[in-house]
Structures are given as structure tokens and as C-alpha cells.
Symmetry: D2
Subunit: 407 residues, 4 copies
Amino acid sequence: MTTIKDSVHDHIEVEGVAADLLDTPPVQRLRRITQLGTVSLVYPSANHTRFEHSLGVYHLADRALDHLDIGGKRAERVRAAAVLHDVGHSPFSHNVEGVVERHTGKRHDDVDGLLAEGRVARVLDDHDLDPANIASLVAGDGELAQLVAGELDVDRMDYLVRDAHHTGVPYGTIDHERLLRALTFIDGELVLDEGNVQTAESLLLARALMNPTVYSHHVARISKSMLRRATERLLDTTEMTAEQLRRMDDHELSVALRSHDETAETGTRLAERDLFKRAVWAEMGDVDDDVVGADHDAVREFERDIAADAGVEPEHVVLDVRGEPSMRESTTGVLVGGEVRRLDEQSTLVNALQVAQREQWRLGVYAPADGVESVGKATERVLGLETEGALVTEVNTPGRYASLDDF
Amino acid sequence: MTTIKDSVHDHIEVEGVAADLLDTPPVQRLRRITQLGTVSLVYPSANHTRFEHSLGVYHLADRALDHLDIGGKRAERVRAAAVLHDVGHSPFSHNVEGVVERHTGKRHDDVDGLLAEGRVARVLDDHDLDPANIASLVAGDGELAQLVAGELDVDRMDYLVRDAHHTGVPYGTIDHERLLRALTFIDGELVLDEGNVQTAESLLLARALMNPTVYSHHVARISKSMLRRATERLLDTTEMTAEQLRRMDDHELSVALRSHDETAETGTRLAERDLFKRAVWAEMGDVDDDVVGADHDAVREFERDIAADAGVEPEHVVLDVRGEPSMRESTTGVLVGGEVRRLDEQSTLVNALQVAQREQWRLGVYAPADGVESVGKATERVLGLETEGALVTEVNTPGRYASLDDF
Amino acid sequence: MTTIKDSVHDHIEVEGVAADLLDTPPVQRLRRITQLGTVSLVYPSANHTRFEHSLGVYHLADRALDHLDIGGKRAERVRAAAVLHDVGHSPFSHNVEGVVERHTGKRHDDVDGLLAEGRVARVLDDHDLDPANIASLVAGDGELAQLVAGELDVDRMDYLVRDAHHTGVPYGTIDHERLLRALTFIDGELVLDEGNVQTAESLLLARALMNPTVYSHHVARISKSMLRRATERLLDTTEMTAEQLRRMDDHELSVALRSHDETAETGTRLAERDLFKRAVWAEMGDVDDDVVGADHDAVREFERDIAADAGVEPEHVVLDVRGEPSMRESTTGVLVGGEVRRLDEQSTLVNALQVAQREQWRLGVYAPADGVESVGKATERVLGLETEGALVTEVNTPGRYASLDDF
Amino acid sequence: MTTIKDSVHDHIEVEGVAADLLDTPPVQRLRRITQLGTVSLVYPSANHTRFEHSLGVYHLADRALDHLDIGGKRAERVRAAAVLHDVGHSPFSHNVEGVVERHTGKRHDDVDGLLAEGRVARVLDDHDLDPANIASLVAGDGELAQLVAGELDVDRMDYLVRDAHHTGVPYGTIDHERLLRALTFIDGELVLDEGNVQTAESLLLARALMNPTVYSHHVARISKSMLRRATERLLDTTEMTAEQLRRMDDHELSVALRSHDETAETGTRLAERDLFKRAVWAEMGDVDDDVVGADHDAVREFERDIAADAGVEPEHVVLDVRGEPSMRESTTGVLVGGEVRRLDEQSTLVNALQVAQREQWRLGVYAPADGVESVGKATERVLGLETEGALVTEVNTPGRYASLDDF
């Protein structure tokens, strides 16, 4: 047995298939994939990696299995899935995922191919486990998959606590030990035991507070959008394939962006934190449906139109449209008086969170500092926004790296 | 200057009037008043005192004054009020406050008399401060009073963080440093600066989660109710006056209860954690208005009727009716787009919190373990409750000291 | 199974004999015995109790048993001993222990009588455990006793971490999880496994740093000495017996001291933190052997002589002589290259700690502030001290509650 | 003013020259230089960067200046030096420093050239500061340089606490707030005020415990040695210059090593944590003087001889000889009885630390797992080591990533 020291869970004990998987190249690669991508441009100490997170997920999965009294091969499968659940991530995690997915059709949890080959396949085989089986757990199929890829999974328990530890933002500090102990299976569904409506609410509140403060902080959104555009350009202008991109690590992508002429400007801007600014930051309720629903090509087209109207280079306009926010955790099951109820049917607070989240939904248009004004006005014209003179709807940006801007 | 080490704020530097006040008997007495009273019967490590809390409030007040650029005599007054803001507390803090108030008409923040005499008066006089002035700050009068006795005051910033530290419940872990930095005065009103709607929400959410989990945990409510009844009996059956009671400390009251025949049973039960159990735990919405609105005498009368009906001794029935929950913090002002808005007008979440809190409102009837069944049924009859057989509406009490029961 | 939330170890799961013992009066009494006695007069937030500490010791013992793969009745005995290991403590823990021991001959770990009667005896009987057997584990007899009452026991692991958490002094923050995992039995001796010389050193260093900073801070020593003298007076001047004193709690002793004429002055001084000051603080190396070795009666006699010489009341002089400091942990066994070695034979650092500790050894004479000068000079004459004009050998007392004075 | 959230110091307020310097490319580059280099191969969560550390050093410097009552231009210089103190670091911090130094003659604190050009020079000029002046502070020249580059500087206060936070090893948890408050200048020397012998000792003990556990953990030493050799090869076999190497970041060096044929094996081994093992781990006292004192070329020659003797490729033998350990902090000045004394003259413990450190001094020879035996024996012959059959003097390596091996 190996004991690994972790800044969040202290000592983590690893053995069996998990210990062997840790030493495989696809898992070691996660040491070079940061958990929060460009969020470190807002929170300088948020440099934790998918590797330590995967260890944490393994640790919590192991403890949950113990509490649920699940052992043997079924448990080994879950532990393997926990260690491997993030090996499908692209560099900079979610930041580049959309690009990869559009070109390859593969999401980060589509790991069939990755597990079926090389060292990982050999390790699984040594432990008499079927790669396809583990891949489907990672993808969320099957009863036990709920533990590592469900609404209530140990994945989010680990990342909330870990992201809080490393950003310094206390909102993610959930009582994960209580959650673990409350997990139970009812008719094949993983739910929280009696007396835990509030435990479940606290998890959703933590997510709801971390979202605008950390995950969707406007500076994180700006830099993520810049990174995406540059990565697309990399695929368009070099011989790199999306499959290759998918297997790179942060180090390689960071160097590649800075090395190629077509992406060097953005690569250097990201490296030197010389970011675009918000030209427009509009409530989604004020935006036309054809913009809200624009697909990738339509967004590109809007960008070109705005750039033309403003008289700036096309790559100096980034239009950032996000899908409607949803809270997957709100369908979490909770036992109340002996019956399983969905949290959003039971909890006033959870319903309010869903409304609040929709209210915080924003469309962003970003440009270099000296182009903000002209791009802002051009956006008004091109997208038909009525902004009453306030392109950025909030004046509340306390500072460059400031931590808690309203969303 | 004196530096004091604190488990929450690390080093606290004290000087001027604050340093001198710390050495006065009324402030030193706070060392023997626990912050959370009987909550330590649920959370064994919650033994922190009003003294360390008062130091923390002084510390945060001092920092807030610094950020607000308020100095001189006005600042000294606030610092004095911060140190003194809890000297009016009865033993076991809020647990006994109701008893004292009914007999003396004085709430814990009515400290006029206490500051005008003895060592405290002399210290204030040495620093050329007027006791009446400080007392009115403690009572919440005047612009600067908002800092120590308002909706957004440093009092609750300290207690949320401190109670989280000492109970082990993470929900109170707010970002108090961010809150301090966001405080600003607009037209004499203390509000949060632009970009802080969410900062304010996070404070309310922390309170909303700590409430059922800690402050109103049913075991804390049971033991608090028992303590109150016993204290009333002490006043009724001995020569002790309510004014004397008010100036006792936890040690003295704990010994007094165990020493007098009339209160020895309850005193010993509390000392040995041999508590009453819930015979009824009903949603307030199901309770008749005359019970909801019952005053002290009416509650006593209901208790006697229930005891008679159940055939148990009168002191073995405790009816625990609480006023409708309110969230004072929900009227907090926040700057949004240059205008001050009330949080409950601005925030979907805060409105939901108010609804949720009302849903958690419960009436309790407590009795010794062997009387729970008969007292439960008697309550049904006497109060006209229709419980459909479930006197305690939740079956969700995970354990004796368990930490996170739904409310 | 009951889960209890703890500020240090988070969730503690209790079952079996331990769960039943928690509810007995002698264990519940520990809620009213503070862990550090008068140390809270230096560190205001150090109000934790023997009850939460006992829970912590149970928790660590349970984990150690698990790592050592010890189960069944042997393990239940250790768990029972862990919960009960402090029931023999007098009020204010070690502060009053000397007084009790002189009158009753019983140390705090002499719990034979306490376990053989009442509720504790019944619980042990229910679980088919022999009280005498558990008492001998508490007293340190037998192989498994090393876990709860040895050089390396879980008792000190818990208190170092807990005292650090509650005082705010970081020095006690040891890696207790590492220590637990390193424990192993070799030929009936509990030692640390290979590769842990430094793990053991770190425990001793933590103790060595906490000692002068916390446990023997001069203000803690002064107040402890005052408390002892007053308690002796209580026994001398009232009908209270030492056996009764031993079973009191902090609340009762605090009230008793303030209630009796003979002890009211000291009781009030302690309650109001109006403490004696150091008249003399001398290196033990400079003190005559007959003072160093003085027994209780001789110390009393010296005090009377000093008081007479100084012309002050006898109870206004306190002579504080302590035995030579020793480090029991220095004989800890550690596996090095397959052989068990004693830490003090193996470690340069541990030897240095023993020397350093002896250098910090001090004799104190305390008196009310206005008597410090005359008492200091009288002490010089009576004890034959040559102080070269510096009765207090260090000028380094940064402040009233200051945290880190040299010893 | 900008407020930045930090995981260690919470909110850090930055203004003036410091705020402007943060945005310069040489400082932003520090986001891509990890603080502990290959230590993350032992402690997976140790991914913090020189950027966040530099912010921390700035923060502590600013607070120290405040306590010392130093303001104006002198303070601005120190703050600038604090932000810039690490811009001279090579990729992977100290790991590659030796290589750079041998080729360029420049240590990491030789930043004259870096500050005199580009954006940094312009910012300093804007604030009317002289680059040469700041560079000499970074290099440790001048009275105020003691704050950022002395025995007692805020640099080590930050890194000890930060490294503890991110590795999870508690030993670095010093009381930095106490240290800051104790700093004082006596005759131009920065020393600790009266009553702080133990405060100083605690800093040295923290360093002494962190050293073998973290900084010189054998796995960190192995991977560091491998990284060095590969970097040397990179300079030898490509057109890259040492000056270019010095200005790279971790990302660039990590990619470069994997991209070049001559270094690809080691680059991949490091990326996949497929490290060499210890063939020899010998106490330095047992090693011949000509080995202990071997310079770079002599070490290379020994390696070749060992490889030839063992019949393995030359790059599969790494000889790791380190200079004699020293503790610079041991000359720290402390005020005792009004006089400044050197800590190593005053403290028994500090002397012991120096001895202990020498005892832990080890020579390592590393090779791929399958070459360990033959390389070990060859080393015996070539270096004339008498190992009595135990090439690795300790058997105490608890596990792959294990945290606390003896040194």
C-alpha cells in the first residue's frame, strides 16, 4: 500500500488497481493539466491539477464504498473509474473541451478509446477488469456510476473543497464527510438518507456561490474565450489534429500557442496577462433569441460583422455566448419520511437558486482595451442590443484580480 | 499595546480604551459566559466564550474603522462599544435572556446601568468617554452603531466564523475580510459597496445554514428550554432576584441549579446530558393561532393542561413556542448601479431564504424519555393538533449528538 | 452508531462500550473540566474541555487499533480506557492535582475506585469488561496500555493538536496521522516503524515548543500557583474533603473559592484576572539545593519567612518550585535498520531538547503588584539568591496576555 | 488599489510600484515557474508558483515595514524588491539553477540585467526608482535588504508556510505574524526583539523538519538530479544558450526536454514519473574526501567510470554530491537582556540542529530500476565505499510518494 500526502485530505492510501493506474502515462499526464485552467489569472494560487483532484476523487469514492459496504470487484471497478475519470480532459480542462468536442465528437468523459490501449489497458487486464466497463462508469452508465458521475458524486465533493482550498474563497467549504456518510442506494438510485435535505442544499449553495465568484468570474471567461479562439486557429492554421490536441498537456499547448505566428499574439497575451476587456456584458434576457441560440458558425459570423462595423481586426472581437445555466444537482434524490423526493420538488431554496442563476446569465463581448468603446457600439448595432448607454451592465469590477465580482 | 493570540483572528492588537476595558470585572466575567450555551451538548467542542468573541468583535471593528478611514474620538467610542457590546448578557447567553427580560424589562443590549458604575465607568471617564453614549451605540442608536449593532455588523461576522471554528460545522465560514473591505457609508447608512450583492447573500446563506444545524438544533432547543424553566423556578422558589441572576456567570448558575432542591433534577439532567426528548415536533403551519401566539402565562397553562391530561408531573412537560423567524440581515443595503437597494428587494435568493426559514419553523413539546408517548398524545388532544399519527414530523435524527439534523 | 462532530477531527464515530460510557456522569463531568485550566488567562480562546479531548483520544485509539489490526475484546478494553482515561482529573486538571494527591495519595490516573462503582461499573459490566482491568490500562500497566498511557500515546497526539487549535499557537501542529500509521508492536513494545526517527523528533519538538509558550507560560504558572494555594486553604478552613474536591468540576470550585471568606480574595483575583506578578524569576542553576529540593512544608515555611521579612501578609507570597523537567517521550522506541533504538540514544536533537529544557527551568516568587519589590528583596535575603540586581532574569514580557514569552 | 485573494494570506492589497510591477512580463512569467520544482513528484499537491510566493513576500514585507514604521521611498524600494526578488529564477527554480550558474556565472539573485531593461525598467522609472538599487536589495546588499534577503527575511517566512499549505506537511507552520512583530533594527542589523529566542528557534526547527521531509526528500533529489543532467545535455547538444535557458519557464523546458532526441528519454521519464532509483545512499562521513569535494567535471568522470564498471550507458548513472549543509538562519541576531546575540551562540537547540543536519548528509547514486544492483556494486569499487553490503543505508522508504522518509 502506498500512502500519499494531499493538501486537502491529508493521507490518502492507495492500493490495488488504483495504485497501478496512478503510474500510467495517461494518469501522470494529469499532473500537467490544471484543474481550473485560466482561473489562475484571477486567483493566483489556483494552480492545482487534475492529478491531485483524481487522487481526491479516488479517496472519497473509496470511503463512500466503505460506508455503503460495497466491496470486491464492483468496488475495484469504481475505484478504477475514480482514478481514470478525468483522463479524457483536454489541456486546460474545460477551457478547450468545446473545441475538441466539435472536431472529434468526443466529450471529456468519452474515454473508451483511451482505456482500451497501452499501459492503462494492461493494468486493467492485470486486475481482470474490462476497459469498456470502466469507460461506461466514467461516462455515467450504470448504478455505481452515480458515485463518480452523478448529481451527487464524489467528483464535485472533491472539487468544491479543493477549489476553495486553493483559491482562498471559502464558499466551497462543504461538509463532505457528512455527505459521504449520508449516501445510500434506494431501488438502484443513489440518494441522501433521511434528515439530509439541508445537507443537499448546502452542496448546491456552495456550487451556486462558487460559480460567479470563481468558475465564471468574468476574467476567467474572457481568458477562456481567448484561449479557445487561439486553439481553434491552431487547428485551422497548422497540421495539428484535434485528436493530437486532445492528448496534449497544458505545457505543450501553452508553448504551441506562443510558437506559432497565427496564435503568438494571444499566446503571449495569456502568458503575460494582457487580456481583452469587456466591451459588452449584457443580461441574457435583453438579448435577441437568434443571438442566444447562435451556433458556432453563427457566433463567428457575428464576430466578423462586429469587427467590420467597428473597424478592427476580426481576431480582436470575441463574442462569448453560453448556454442557459442549469443545475444538474437539483434533481438529487433525498429521502424524506421514507420516500425519495427530488430536491427541486422539496426545496424552496433550490428553486430560488435556479432562478438566481438564470438572472446572472450574461453575454460578453471582449476586445483589446483600446477597442472596447468602438466594439461595444458596433455590437449594439449588429446585435440590436438596447443598452441605454451602459454596455457593461455592472460597474462593479473592484480590481484587476479582484475576487468576488458579481457575475 | 497588548497583543493577544486568538484562535480565529490570530494576533489581535489592543490599545487605548479597549485595553483598559478588557481588565474590568464586567468584561472579565464574559470569560465565564459561553457563547452558545447549551449548544455544546450537541457540539462538544463549542465551548468558546463571550470574552474571546468580544475581542474578535473589537478586532473587526478596528479594521472596519481603518478601512472606512474613521479615527479619533468617534473611533474610540466604537471600539469601546465593541468590547462592551455583550456585557449585558445573562449566564448561558441567549438561553436565559428571556427570563431576565420578563422580570427586569432589560434586554442584553440594555447596558446603560452597567456602564455607568464601577470600574467600567472609571475607565470610560479616564478616556473622556460618556457611558450613556457608549450604551446607546451598544443598543444600536446612531450612525456608527450600525458597525457593531446593525444588520451587517462585525458582531455577526465574528460569531459566524468563530462558531464554525469551534463546532466544526463549515457553513459559517464566510469571507469576512471581503465584507469588511466592502463596507461603506452612504447618506448615513452603512451599506456594501458596488459588486457585493453576492457577498451579502453569502452572509445570509451562512446564517441560514447555521441556524438549523447549530443555533436551533433540536437538542439545543430542548436543553435551552429545560434551562429556562429551571431558571424560572429558581427565581420563584429562592430569594434570588432577576437582577442578581443577570449578573451571574455560567459557573454560578450551573452550581445554583444543582444546589437547590427545586431545580436539582433539571440541573443534574443538564450536567449529565440526560435530556428530555421530543414528544411533539410540529410544523407551525399546522398549529392553531392561539398556540402560536400564546404568551408566557398561556404557555405555562398549556403545559399544565397537557401534564394533567397525560398524568405526569407538570415540570415534566415543556412546551417550546418560538416567534416567527425573521432575517434582520435581509434589509441590508447594497449599492447597485450607484443606488442603495435593500437586499430583499434585489435578491431572489434572500427571498427564498425567508420562505425556507418559515417552512422550518417548528413547535416542540419535550418530556422525559418514558413520558414521550403519553405527553405526545395528550398534546394532540389539548392543542388540537392533527398529526396523522406522526407527532414528530421527522424521523431523521441520526444520533445523539448528531450534527446536521434537519430543523 | 453515533457520529459526533469535533472541531479537530471532524466526524468521530462512536459505538459499543465507548458510546455507552460517554453518557455516564463521570464522563459528562469532563465537559466542565477545562483541558488547560488557567492557561485561558493567557490564551483567551483556550476553553476546550477534557470531554472533547477524551473523544479525540478515543478516536485516535480506535484508528490506531485499526492500523495495528487489533480487534475484539482487547480493542474494546483500549477504547473504554481511552474514553475513561481522564475521569480521575480534579477540577482545573493538573492545576489542582498536586493538592489532591498530597491529601488522598491518588494521582489522576488512579481510577480504580471510580470505575468500580455506579453507572460506569454497570456499563462496563454490560459489555463484559472488568473495571480493574480498564483501570490498569489507564494507569499504564500492560502492553496495550502503551497506546493510551505510554511515551508515544494517542493522548499526547490529541492534546498537542487540540491545544494548538484552541490557543492559536501553531507549534503543536504535528502530523498525527503519520504517527498513527507508524505505530507498531515489537516484542510487546510499542515503537515507531522504520524511517520514522524524524516523525518521533517532530513530536518532541512540538512538545518542547508548546511547553514554555503555552503550558508553562509564566502567567499560567502564576495563576496556577494562586489557584493551588487557595484550594489548599479551602481544605484547611472548611469541611470539604480532598475526595470531595477531587470530584468537583471547574464550575463548583470556581464558585466555592469565591464564596468562602478565606479564599474569596484569590477567587475574585482569578475571576477578574487581577493576578500576582513575578517578584523573582530565577534560573534554577542559581538556586540553592535545599530550595530546589524543598518539599511542601518547606516551601510553606520559606513563604512565611519571605512574607515576614518583606512585611506583607503570608498569603501574599507564593513560592513556585518545580521538579526538574524531564521528557518522558525521549525514551520512545524507534526501529532503525531492524533494531529498536531509544530515541535519546539515536537523536542529536532529542538530547539537545533535554539540555534546552533544563536551561529553561525557573523558580518563581509571586506577589501582588505593589509588593513585588519588597518581596523580591526579601526573597534574595531568605533564599540566599545572588541576583545582581535583576530579580526577574528576563525583561522580555511583551504584554499582559502575550503569547510567546521565553520561559 | 488592487486586492488579490491568496490561499495563504487571504486578501493581499497591492498598490504603487508593486501593482505596476505585477503586470510586467518577467513577473507574470513566475506564474509558470513552480516553487518546488520536482517536489510535486513526491507531494502531488505542491504545484504552487513563484508568482503567488512573490505576492506573499510582498505582503509580508509590506506588513513588516508597517511594524517597523518605515515609509516613503525607502519602503517603496523594499516593496519593489519583494515583488522582483525571484525574477532571476530559472525554470523549475533551484533545480536548474546550478546549470545556469556554471554557464553564465549568474545566481538567481543576480538580477541587475533583468531590471535594467524592458517593462520592468520603465515601471521603476515611472516610480522614480533606480533599477541598480533594487537589484542590490535583491542581492542582499544594504540594511533594508535584510528584510527580503537576510537570515530572517520574509522570503522564508512565506515559503515555509506556503510549502506546508500546499504539500500538506504541517512542519512549516510557523507563527509568522509573531516573527513580523518581533523584527527590529539595532545598529543597522535586523534582529528579533527581547523575549524571542524561542520564536527564532521555532523558525529554524521548521526549516530543519521541512528539509528532509520536503526539500531534500530522496525522490525530489533523484528527479532534480535527472532534470539537471538532461538540461546540461540540452545545452550541449542544441543551440540553446544558458541565457536563453535562464529565461524559459517550466512549460518551455518541459516541452523542450521531451522534444529533443538527446533528452527525450529523461524528459519522458520525468513526465511519466518513471524515475531512477537509489543504487547507493551513503552517509557522507563514510565517503572519501576527493568524492565529497569533487567539482562538476570530477563528478562527471566518476559517473563515467561507474557506468563503465557496471556495463551500463553513461547517462544511466547519476552521482549526486551535495555541499555540506549549513543553516544560514543560525546567525540570526536576537536581543537578550539588551544585547544582540547570535542565535547559535545562545541556543542549545540551534547547535544541535547543525549537528543533526550534518548527520543527515547523504551521497546518492541513482540508476534505472534494473541497473540498481550493478551500479551499486560498481560504485562501491569506483568510489572505494565500504558499505558492508548495505548500499542504501536505510531500508525505510515507506512507499512511492511517501511523505516522511528519513533523509
